[in-house]
Symmetry: C2
DNA sequence: CCAAAAGTGTTCACCGTACACCCATGA
DNA sequence: TCATGGGTGTACGGTGAACACTTTTGG
């Protein structure tokens, strides 16, 4: 069954990095400096080291190319069409990651690439390889997970208002939600706790701040 | 980013092949003839050819090792811990497949391996590599998909009774279901059509036979 | 005082769940 | 005639959806 005689393909990880910026779901892309697809936009990613776990490799690429650390990361799907890279056989294990909106500044600071930019997922430029497919699948997965998990919390700082959380839902689902129903559903689910604090300083009524009951952990609903 | 200098890992596909047999969810395993894990049971699978799509490779392994063709196949997850194979770095793209109960006989006939056997998922023998983890994840995915898709139909012949379908649900979920509620829910979902035929020849009242409205296609509910 | 977001309840339709008996057949 | 699975309806509680006004603040 197993032998050493087979030619081995290259294996990479690519990461679809989402955030919410300017009321839109956006993806972090890197402009390619080399052929093929020179000057096209592409997902951050790269080769998996020979002694490195797949997820570790994805985290390393994330850190090296964008400076991002300690964020939610999940394996998405593995893409392996033989013709997806014109140079050699490259199989890519795609991941997706979510960046909290309060950590956006730190990205440009830490990354050596000035070629990084956020792009709204509904207005993507021409993309290298099959990265368009990958982003599309990631978007579907993210939208599906909104309904039955606490994944939306990964976009927000430790404490946040219900209005901010509702905004995350609306932007990803692409539709507005009734405020009263949303609050009933979210508070009824029981994974938020009231911090007792208020967000003041806006020119309107202050919002109660909540935090996740188990921060960092993904919970499932129903 | 991409270069030819990196050492490339081996890439395999492994397939968790499910069926329902003797009122139990079972997995098809192959007894290993070679080291490592000689004489342990393992998932069918093998190397991806260098010019072959991942799914094509999985289908080919399925055919070669078990004789099975034309069944439901879906990518599950990619496992890549550096130590998962003691010989060299092997990344495996795991798939799962569902064999209809009316195709079980054809398997032993077509496979050259007398070392193939069905094992109930809740009574598995010692398994090679991380194949225990893979089966466990596949089982979770299958159980989850029961609730929101028509995947259960993949275990049944073209036409089947509601009792047979209910049995599939019960065996996979591991719990009994109220018959009237089940029938209301399934028929209400609208993806079955009455064939008008009856299954006779048992020593009890004949059952109406149904078939999928779109056979082969997976539909989603809600 | 005004603009802007926060906060709050009720009604109704629908759906999942609990629950028990008769039917048709072959042996 | 009897054992076996097939087939059927109703009542109830919970949940998701629709819907509008008052509150609090900063400028």
């Amino acid at each position: 069954m197993y032998s050493y005689s087979h030619p081995h393909p290259a294996v990479t990880t690519d990461i679809v990095i989402f955030t919410i910026l300017e009321e839109r779901l956006q993806v972090l892309l890197i402009r390619r400096a080399a052929e093929p697809f020179r000057n096209s936009w592409a997902l951050p990613g790269g080769f998996v080291n020979i002694d490195e776990d797949l997820e570790t490799g994805a985290l390393r690429e994330l850190q090296e190319e964008t400076g991002i650390r300690d964020i939610y990361l999940e394996q998405l799907y593995t893409f392996g069409r033989p013709d997806r890279d014109p140079r050699e056989r490259v199989i890519t294990v795609a991941y997706y990651a979510l960046v909290p909106i309060d950590q956006l500044q730190s990205i440009e600071a830490a990354s050596d690439a000035a070629a990084l930019a956020w792009h709204p997922v509904d207005r993507l430029p021409a993309l290298a390889f099959d990265h368009g497919l990958i982003i599309d699948l990631a978007r579907q997965r993210l939208a599906a997970k909104l309904d039955y998990s606490t994944i939306a919390l990964q976009f927000l700082p430790r404490s946040f208002s219900l209005g901010e959380l509702q905004n995350v839902y609306e932007v990803i689902a692409g539709e507005t939600i009734d405020k009263r129903n949303f609050r009933k559903r979210i508070l009824g689910a029981g994974f938020l706790v009231d911090t007792g604090k208020l967000r003041r300083g806006n020119r309107h009524r202050p919002a109660r701040l909540y935090r996740a009951k188990s921060p960092g952990t993904l919970s499932y609903i129903r």
